[in-house]
């Protein structure tokens, strides 16, 4: 277990910023709440100065990890290192971390400026200097004109900027954001997403951002950590996690991929045939072909699949192809989401460019053949736990 996790963390082939201030390492971290295990023996290295997203469904342990880094929770086992120093038991400010709470937790009785200046006040800094520095920080998040409002008089997005300013005034080396965009409407979410990235680049410290939204993580992060049931499924660059998912779980959770999983029934060197949902699918084989009878999983990106009308349904499908019937068509502007049924054991989706679709529009129920190139088959790690796919898109 321990070894496999270490392997995950070193699997980052994408470009990550090289170590700066605020690097984080979790070593064998386990957190139990009574009998339930929230986080199970995790090893993770986050480079300093990077934007890291912890991604997973609710209850996967991502917030617990964040809170352990913040010092609001202590690991049951293991160590949390910031810049190489074990910080377990240290208070947040001593760790150099600052947290932005999901509810923002702005003090309702204090004006925005006083909220931002709270850290300066507890440190005994004089009133004039407090206000000056708070206004400076508010300007940084473009909120200086709201300095004397109470938090209740602000919109969600504005409250968030205040919370951000309040956290940043402690000059942390790590900023921890707990689902920062979840309380905002779609428009604001996209706007704040860009803002967060801008501010992270501006202050140059490590941002650790907990989210359950895949596209948010992919859009923001240098490094995405996909979690499930208290464990790390994959920790890699956003591109790797999306394009080269390690396991079936990651492929299903990130979306954008079709996962073909089944039992190997035939293996003739060049190709491998699996049985999936009563259908036989032939795929080009990996370098080390799987044994007959074993579970085999591969992923194909939805936009790497071509569709053609099936001549006859009974025709034996070729390698790297599945046959099925159109069960859903969703217009997405520049592309269409075509869902096939009876293709394999799970939903098979093709993202078709609009020009291609409208050249010869398909209708529901039409028999089709979906094909892809050998180089677009991505083999998934065996031993992944199938049938736990979470979000479908």
């Amino acid at each position: 277990m321990n070894d496999s996790n270490k392997q995950i963390t070193t699997m980052t082939t994408g470009k990550l910023p090289t170590a700066g201030r605020g690097s984080i390492e979790l070593a064998g971290v386990t957190k139990r709440f009574g009998d339930t295990v929230a986080v199970r023996n995790i090893d993770l290295k986050i480079p300093g100065g990077s934007y890291c997203c912890l991604l997973g469904p609710s209850g996967c342990g991502k917030t617990t990890i964040l809170r352990m880094i913040a010092g609001h929770e202590n690991p049951t086992e293991g160590a949390v290192l910031i810049d190489g120093e074990n910080v377990v038991g240290e208070p947040p400010v001593k760790r150099g971390t600052a947290m932005m709470f999901q509810s923002y937790a702005l003090f309702p009785h204090l004006s925005c400026a006083d909220n931002v200046a709270f850290n300066l006040k507890v440190r005994g800094i004089g009133k004039a200097e407090r206000r000056e520095r708070a206004l400076e920080m508010l300007a940084r998040v473009r909120m200086n004109q709201f300095a004397d409002r109470l938090p209740a008089q602000l919109s969600g997005g504005q409250q968030q900027r205040i919370a951000l300013a309040r956290a940043l005034i402690t000059s942390p080396r790590v900023l921890l954001l707990d689902e920062p965009l979840s309380a905002l409407d779609e428009f604001l979410r996209l706007q704040m997403r860009g803002e967060l990235r801008r501010i992270q680049a501006d202050v140059g410290i490590t941002f650790i951002h907990v989210t359950h939204t895949q596209m948010e993580a992919v859009a923001l992060a240098d490094m995405v950590v996909v979690m499930d049931q208290g464990q790390i499924e994959q920790a890699a660059s956003a591109r790797d996690v999306y394009d080269l998912p390690r396991t079936g779980y990651v492929a299903r959770f990130m979306g954008g991929q079709n996962v073909l999983s089944g039992t190997v029934v035939q293996n003739d060197g060049g190709s491998v045939t699996i049985e999936s949902g009563g259908k036989r699918i032939r795929l080009s084989a990996p370098d080390t072909p799987p044994a007959v009878g074993s579970i085999f999983e591969a992923a194909v990106r939805r936009d790497h699949v071509r569709l053609s009308r099936a001549v006859s349904e009974s025709a034996q499908p070729a390698t790297n192809a599945v046959a099925g019937r159109v069960s859903g068509i969703e217009y997405q502007g520049t592309w269409l989401k075509i869902t096939l049924e009876d293709a394999c054991s799970e939903e098979f989706v093709v993202n078709l460019p609009d020009s291609l679709f409208f050249a010869d529009p398909l209708t529901i129920g039409a028999p089709v053949l979906a094909q892809w190139n050998t180089e677009h088959v991505h083999f998934l790690a065996s031993g992944s736990r199938p049938g736990r796919g979470a979000a479908s898109h």
């Binding site: 208070p91 947040p92 937790a105 003090f107 309702p108 709270f118 850290n119 507890v122």
Partner: protein, 296 residues
């Protein structure tokens, strides 16, 4: 605007019969609640020759003056000041202990359920028995009972569970993240308590204070057997009803009601004052910053 008002007006003209039935019921309720008391308030302004019942024989403040003449109506002034002092002490102890106990009950300490039921049980117990028990205990220990000792303790068995229940309601809406945010920003536990917890809980604390004060101010059964030689106001009034046969009794009712209203006004007023000062401070600062904002 006109369009929005139109449907409202239409509704105003055509009310359902239930509206009138419920309104009538409410008017009756108010009449029952305030009718008997207003008779007392009116009769307290009885002329010097007037009696305990209507009709009024002229109007005067004669009986209010008589109230403060000790020899005629008992030690009203002394009882009043004792009751006030006792109520203030009960208020302070109730607020302090309810807030601290409420905070403690947020974490499930061993035996917390037992302690909670034990505390709340004294609400159900007949007050006269609590007073009797406290009085007997003091007698057994050979300690003289006094309004500031035995009666204080007996009253607290009544106000503390109330205060605790109010704090439960207040704290159920208190987000723990506030304290974590305080800790995250480097505040010590002491600073978190005074700079975050107390200001946020302050309106709830005023509610507890108001309860503590009013429950103590008119407390009778628990105080009766524990106050010792010197009466509190409710006991003084009780005594007067049996031996005073003049409208001074009504004057007393009017005065004590005014004190109760004063306490409530003080509590609500202080909340309003805090909010007003806060908003005024904000507005005065804002006028300076709005111009900056406008140029952006």
């Amino acid at each position: 605007m006109g369009q929005a008002a139109a449907p409202a007006q239409k509704q105003l003209g055509k009310r359902r019969w239930t509206f009138y039935a419920l309104s009538a019921f409410f008017v009756l309720f108010v009449a029952f609640l305030y009718g008997p008391m207003s008779a007392i308030y009116v009769l307290s302004f009885q002329g010097p020759t007037g009696g305990l019942t209507f009709p009024m024989r002229g109007y005067s403040t004669h009986w209010f003056v008589a109230l403060f003449e000790q020899q005629r109506t008992g030690d009203f002034a002394g009882a009043f000041s004792r009751s006030l002092m006792l109520a203030v002490v009960v208020l302070l102890v109730t607020v302090a202990m309810s807030v601290l106990a409420g905070l403690a009950f947020r974490r499930r300490f061993p035996g917390s359920t037992f302690v909670f039921y034990f505390a709340v049980a004294s609400l159900i117990m007949p007050g006269i028995l609590v007073g009797l028990g406290v009085g007997l205990t003091f007698q057994l220990l050979d300690v003289p009972t006094n309004w500031y000792s035995a009666a204080l303790g007996a009253q607290l068995t009544w106000t503390l569970p109330f205060g605790l229940l109010i704090m439960f309601a207040v704290l159920s809406r208190f987000n723990r993240a506030f304290e974590e945010a305080g800790r995250d920003l480097g505040a010590s536990n002491w600073q978190i308590f005074w700079m975050v917890v107390v200001p946020i809980l302050f309106p709830g604390m005023i509610a507890v204070a108001l309860f503590g004060f009013t429950l103590s101010y008119d407390e009778f059964p628990r105080t009766l057997l524990t106050a010792g030689a010197k009466n509190t106001l409710p006991m003084e009034i009780w005594g007067m009803t049996t031996n005073v046969t003049s409208p001074a009794l009504y004057a007393l009712g009017t005065v004590t009601t005014l004190v109760s209203f004063f306490a409530i006004t003080l509590a609500l007023g202080s909340i309003a004052l805090i909010q007003w000062r806060r908003s005024r401070k904000l507005v005065s600062n804002e006028s300076a910053t709005v111009e900056i904002g406008a140029t952006q």
